[in-house]
């Protein structure tokens, strides 16, 4: 939130809002400020105020009301007090299973993403032939619809005819039930998600790398540090803001997994790929449990919100981008 107040300070400085006077009433000050306001400003922000009221404020309030009700959209709402929250927290193993699946996903996705993106970014930061081509190739899956990527990867992961098992069999290894083995499916999805997003994170790391001043490496070399030491002592520490951003964005991606299990597994086998958003979707649109779905949304949003707040707190420091 530090950045918020900082931005606001910049805003008032640049446009020159006069400070509060020491004499005279607050209302008079307000009236004077309004009189000298550029009224056209209100016309310009009007679309936003309408948008905010309809698509932000109303849904927020309604979500809060829904949490305390049972509702199937057709018949009238029924007040149930804290029943939804109680059920979610203490009486719904499937919700916790979905949350556990998300954690499993993140446990593979985040380290894989960090290591590969950083490694490729470091290589791409050199003067090498076809650099632009590589950059574009890695970025392509990020631009394309998740529907394309998931349907394609489901074919690649196919146990009988998929490319992965074809390669394994050529190497004389047994095939793997990439999406059919409950112990493996969520990790298969994590690998695919890494493939889809890698290019984006490579670009973020590249931006960070290009912000590191070259003289730091020269100074280190004069002091006798080899390239390996330079990487651990200069490159990595100066990239910590980017690293943090990558972790946070991947975590938020993990919490909003939907199309991947929806397309590839339907949440199976044995609910091993059920994600929280898919669980919410099923409650809302298959069982018509609107109140309960809203409660899941609330709890999920609370978790994401905590992640965002941590991000804002940690990222308020200096960055090299």
């Amino acid at each position: 939130m530090q950045s918020t107040s900082h931005n606001a300070a910049v805003a008032s400085k640049t446009a020159g809002t006069p400070p509060l006077p020491s004499t005279g009433g607050y209302w008079r000050w307000l009236r004077d400020r309004f009189r000298e306001s550029q009224k056209i400003g209100y016309v310009f922000v009007l679309p936003y105020l309408v948008f905010f009221a309809v698509f932000v404020a109303y849904p927020l309030i309604f979500a809060f009301i829904l949490v305390f009700h049972s509702w199937n959209i057709v018949s009238p709402m029924r007040f149930v007090g804290l029943w939804n929250i109680e059920r979610l927290l203490f009486n719904d193993p499937l919700f916790w299973k979905a949350l556990g699946n998300t954690l499993k996903f993140l446990m593979l996705h985040i380290p894989l993403q960090l290591v590969l993106a950083l490694m490729i970014a470091v290589i791409l930061n050199q003067r090498i032939p076809l650099r632009g081509f590589f950059r574009s190739a890695f970025f392509l899956p990020f631009v394309i619809s998740g529907a394309v990527v998931t349907i394609l990867w489901q074919a690649l992961y196919s146990t009988d005819a998929g490319v992965f098992n074809l390669v394994l069999r050529k190497l004389g290894l047994p095939g793997v039930g990439w999406l059919t083995d409950p112990g493996i499916a969520i990790y298969s999805i994590a690998i695919m998600a890494t493939w889809k997003n890698l290019g984006f994170y490579i670009i973020l790391f590249l931006a960070g790398l290009q912000g590191i001043p070259g003289y730091l490496y020269e100074a280190a070399a004069i002091d006798g540090a080899n390239r390996w030491h330079q990487f651990w002592r200069i490159t990595l520490p100066l990239l910590n803001q980017i690293t943090l951003l990558v972790v946070i964005l991947s975590t938020m991606g993990g919490f909003s997994l939907f199309i991947e299990p929806f397309v590839m597994t339907g949440g199976g086998p044995a609910d091993s790929t059920l994600s929280v958003v898919l669980y919410l979707y099923k409650h809302a649109f298959q069982f018509l449990h609107m109140g309960y779905a809203a409660t899941i949304g609330f709890v999920l949003a609370a978790m994401v919100f905590v992640v965002i707040v941590i991000q804002r707190k940690l990222m308020s420091g200096e960055t090299y981008v």
């Binding site: 931005n7 805003a11 640049t14 446009a15 809002t17 307000l30 400020r33 309004f34 056209i40 310009f44 922000v45 679309p47 936003y48 948008f51 309809v54 698509f55 109303y58 309604f62 979500a63 290589i123 050199q126 003067r127 090498i128 590589f134 574009s136 190739a137 890695f138 970025f139 631009v143 394309i144 619809s145 998740g146 529907a147 394309v148 349907i151 394609l152 990867w153 074919a155 009988d160 005819a161 998929g162 074809l166 390669v167 670009i203 973020l204 070259g214 020269e218 280190a220 390239r227 951003l245 938020m252 909003s256 939907f258 199309i259 929806f262 339907g266 979707y281 949304g297 949003a301 919100f305």
Partner: protein, 287 residues
């Protein structure tokens, strides 16, 4: 002299010598292959006969367009393409106009309550989408907007990130320019759209690409508010074609469907790569 030698050796813009250089390049090539091969396999599989799908080959003498004919026969994919294009273009245009208006007001105009509204924008950006998904759906139902373009366009007509990007960009435009125009009696409307817009191409491109790609690729929201096949967006229809088993277990037809879905974005990406990469990376750094 010595300094230059050291710099050549350690500068981050240079490789170490010989073996390391080759090894690193090979790693890079291996990764690049793993990124490109699946797309080539997808293109080949969309043309292969069914019994040749389970091979690694990218070429077959039996290539045919059967899969594509099947897709066009089974689902109104051309209509879905039109829906997606119409919805994405309309919403993107609206986002550019409305977000730049708000960004302009927050960055270049002085009025009571401006900083409050700016904080409202920042606050809204913190709200995760999962929270408002259900009440938004209820809202669309109450407005009788299900199975209409409104359901897809209205929630995407203005963007918080767009407002912030425009505001920040407008702050960098010198005040003398706008002041001179104002003295000549230019209205704020003309000022924004005839003087500031032409100077703001980078911001327009960034916001345009980010919102267009976001709307074009979205599947979850259309799945919720659109049930009528004539009104579906392209990614939604292709997803349901696959999940609903309409491809009749023909992998070639599924690959043909996702080829059709990927093609417009791949073409746009081929011509505008640099803008795509810069815009989307920037949106990540901002968010």
């Amino acid at each position: 002299m010595a300094m230059r030698a050291v710099r050549r050796l350690v500068s981050p813009g240079r490789f170490g010598q010989g073996a390391l250089k080759v090894v690193l390049y090979l790693i890079l090539v291996a990764f690049a292959v793993s990124f490109i091969y699946p797309f080539l396999w997808m293109a080949a599989a969309s043309l292969k006969p069914e019994r040749e799908i389970g091979t690694l080959a990218l070429w077959s003498p039996h290539f045919s367009l059967r899969g594509y004919f099947y897709v066009f026969h089974q689902i109104p994919i051309a209509r879905a393409f039109f829906n997606s294009a119409f919805v994405s273009l309309t919403a993107t245009f609206s986002t550019l106009v409305l977000s730049s208006m708000v960004g302009y007001a927050l960055g270049r105009l002085r009025f009571l309550g401006r900083d409050f509204i700016f904080n409202l924008v920042l606050f809204t950006m913190l709200i995760p989408g999962q929270l408002t998904l259900i009440p938004m759906y209820v809202l669309i139902v109450k407005l009788h907007w299900t199975d209409t373009y409104w359901a897809l366009i209205a929630p995407a007509m203005i963007s918080n990130m767009g407002i912030l990007i425009f505001r920040q960009f407008f702050l960098t435009i010198p005040g003398e320019l706008t002041d001179a125009a104002r003295i000549d009696g230019c209205s704020e409307w003309r000022l924004l759209f005839q003087i500031v817009w032409p100077l703001s191409k980078p911001a327009l491109i960034t916001v345009g690409i980010v919102s267009f790609i976001g709307i074009w690729n979205d599947v979850l929201w259309p799945l919720i508010v659109i049930r009528n096949w004539q009104m579906m967006t392209m990614p939604q229809m292709v997803t349901l074609f696959h999940v609903g088993g309409l491809a009749g277990a023909q992998v070639s037809a599924e690959m043909a469907a996702i080829m059709l879905l990927a093609l417009p974005v791949v073409l746009a990406y081929a011509f505008l790569q640099r803008y795509f990469i810069e815009s989307l990376a920037l949106s990540g750094l901002k968010g």
